[in-house]
């Protein structure tokens, strides 16, 4: 499909007299285009910053789907869905704790072996992880801090493959009563594991979209010379301006001692606003993301703060471990 320059076009002539209302309308439409690009997924709909204009544009685009003639779903699709829903249950940790549920009298999973559905779900998850990795890895190659994200995908993939192997092994066990109990526990464990992996994947997917979406800004974080212990620390904050979504990725962070914790701050026109506590893992990496930020945010800072209340603090600038540099539009 190529563009024929001789075809009469309905394109308007380039306008250089856009008024503010036009620019606002175009900004809203552009934000909706971000959604069309599939880059922001549904998080934007959950974000407080999504304005009604953008929502209206999104709804207009979704009207395209309503134009289509309905297509009846496959036979038994409903039954398969409900079976899968029951099998996968929710991903919240509180709802998938089988051993605690036994003590609280909550509904127990049925005493059954692995069926084709569970195996298919596990295989689907493995395929999803693999597909995600294949698609995202090349795009992440030039990105700072990408390895930690990719590592999460790899880890999830490996763990998921292990889960599939566990399920297959469990399905092959004999029918003795003792082994049946064992298989049932493995069933519950695998279901719980799948739910956890799904939750991990949701987080990873959300962050990957922040890293790979178009129209994003990146704020490189620079270690502050005064903090010699964190001199090697590195980081970056990805921001999708249209929706105020942000993702902070840190690496080579020295672990905080038992009396301190890292916190992220928004540097705004009106001062500093705390953005949350950062948990650094054993490898020195950390990630934090959210769907809103204060208006007028111009930069970010990571500080090392005393945990105990009432402890006298140094001046804000002296507590800063990492401070953002001017953003780069990607």
């Amino acid at each position: 499909m190529t563009h024929d320059p001789t075809t009469p076009s309905n394109d308007p002539p380039a306008a250089d007299d856009h008024d503010l209302a036009t620019l606002d309308a175009e900004a809203a439409a552009s934000a909706a285009l971000d959604l069309l690009d599939g880059a922001l997924d549904l998080e934007a709909l959950h974000a407080d910053a999504m304005d009604p204009e953008t929502a209206a544009h999104v709804a207009a685009c979704c009207a395209l789907a309503h134009e289509l003639e309905p297509v009846a779903p496959a036979p038994h699709a409903r039954e398969r869905l409900l079976a899968a829903a029951i099998a996968s249950r929710r991903t919240e940790p509180t709802s998938v704790a089988p051993f605690r549920a036994a003590n609280t009298g909550a509904k127990q999973p049925s005493n059954r072996r692995f069926g084709a559905l569970e195996l298919a779900l596990a295989a689907g998850l493995a395929a999803l992880c693999f597909g995600l990795g294949v698609f995202v890895a090349p795009q992440l190659a030039p990105q700072p801090n990408a390895p930690s994200v990719v590592a999460s995908v790899d880890e999830a993939t490996s763990a998921n493959e292990a889960t599939s192997a566990d399920e297959t092994a469990a399905a092959d066990r004999s029918d003795s009563a003792e082994e049946a109990v064992s298989a049932n526990e493995a069933d519950v464990g695998a279901t719980e594991r799948i739910a956890e992996l799904e939750a991990d994947l949701d987080v990873t997917r959300r962050r990957l979209k922040m890293v790979t979406t178009i129209a994003r800004q990146a704020y490189p974080m620079q270690a502050q010379p005064a903090r010699a212990t964190a001199a090697s620390a590195d980081g970056i904050v990805y921001v999708c301006g249209a929706h105020q979504r942000w993702y902070l990725a840190l690496s080579a962070m020295p672990p905080a001692d038992a009396h301190h914790e890292y916190r992220v701050w928004f540097l705004t026109d009106d001062g500093t606003v705390e953005g949350g506590t950062i948990e650094v893992d054993q490898s020195g990496t950390a990630g934090l993301d959210a769907t809103s930020m204060p208006r007028g945010t111009r930069g970010f800072a990571v500080t090392l703060e005393p945990i105990e209340p009432g402890v006298s603090r140094a001046a804000f600038d002296d507590r800063i471990v990492l401070r953002s540099r001017p953003p780069v539009r990607l």
Partner: protein, 200 residues
């Protein structure tokens, strides 16, 4: 004279709204999930079949979309979007993930010419007059869009192509692609004010 006790007339309970069903799904009610599926599976199947040519893949994606609803229902905010719009966004997002991960854009792009105007059969779909009227009006308004504007919008929405990819695939300058898409969206929005109110 004997009087026969008359059974009380039961008034059928009104159908729960989509929003109510999602709230019940959020509470873990799989029956509500089933009812949402009854109402909207044909819409999502049509959408995904439009985007993914393999019926088996499309079926998987629709199921994945409803499973996502099952897991994310607690996060649904009816003030941000209607349930149908939310469902469409979920299904479309899953389909785009599949398109991109399998790198089948070239195939779907080549299919674009054949897909436009293709009829989708609905052997069992229970259609209401209102739905038919809405569909007819949508089709009418979309038909009013200039071809080049409708083309870029459909490539973006149904084929999951980014603006840059549309430019690369069609040979149209990126700026023109953006202008056409924005114009198409604005016209669509202006023309479908009433429908959009339902979708919001």
């Amino acid at each position: 004279m004997t009087r026969t006790a008359q059974a009380p007339r039961l008034r059928p309970a009104p159908d729960p709204s989509d929003g109510d069903l999602v709230a019940r799904v959020a509470d873990g009610d799989e029956t509500a999930l089933g009812r949402l599926h009854d109402r909207h599976a044909s819409l999502l199947t049509a959408l995904v079949r439009r985007m993914i040519s393999d019926p088996s893949d499309a079926e998987d994606i629709v199921q994945e979309a409803f499973l996502q609803v099952w897991h994310q229902a607690p996060r649904y905010d009816r003030s941000k979007a209607s349930v149908p719009t939310w469902l469409v966004l979920i299904a479309r997002s899953r389909a785009i993930d599949r398109l991109r991960s399998e790198r089948v854009k070239s195939r779907t792009l080549n299919d674009f010419g054949q897909q436009r105007g293709a009829t989708h059969t609905s052997p069992e779909g229970a259609r209401t007059v209102l739905e038919e009227q809405r569909r007819s009006r949508l089709r009418n308004e979309l038909g009013k869009l200039p071809d080049e504007q409708r083309q870029v919008l459909e490539l973006a929405f149904f084929n999951g192509l980014t603006q840059s990819q549309i430019a690369g695939s069609t040979g149209i300058p990126l700026g023109t692609v953006k202008t056409r898409t924005l114009l198409a969206m604005k016209k669509l929005r202006a023309a479908l004010t009433d429908e959009i109110r339902d979708f919001l």
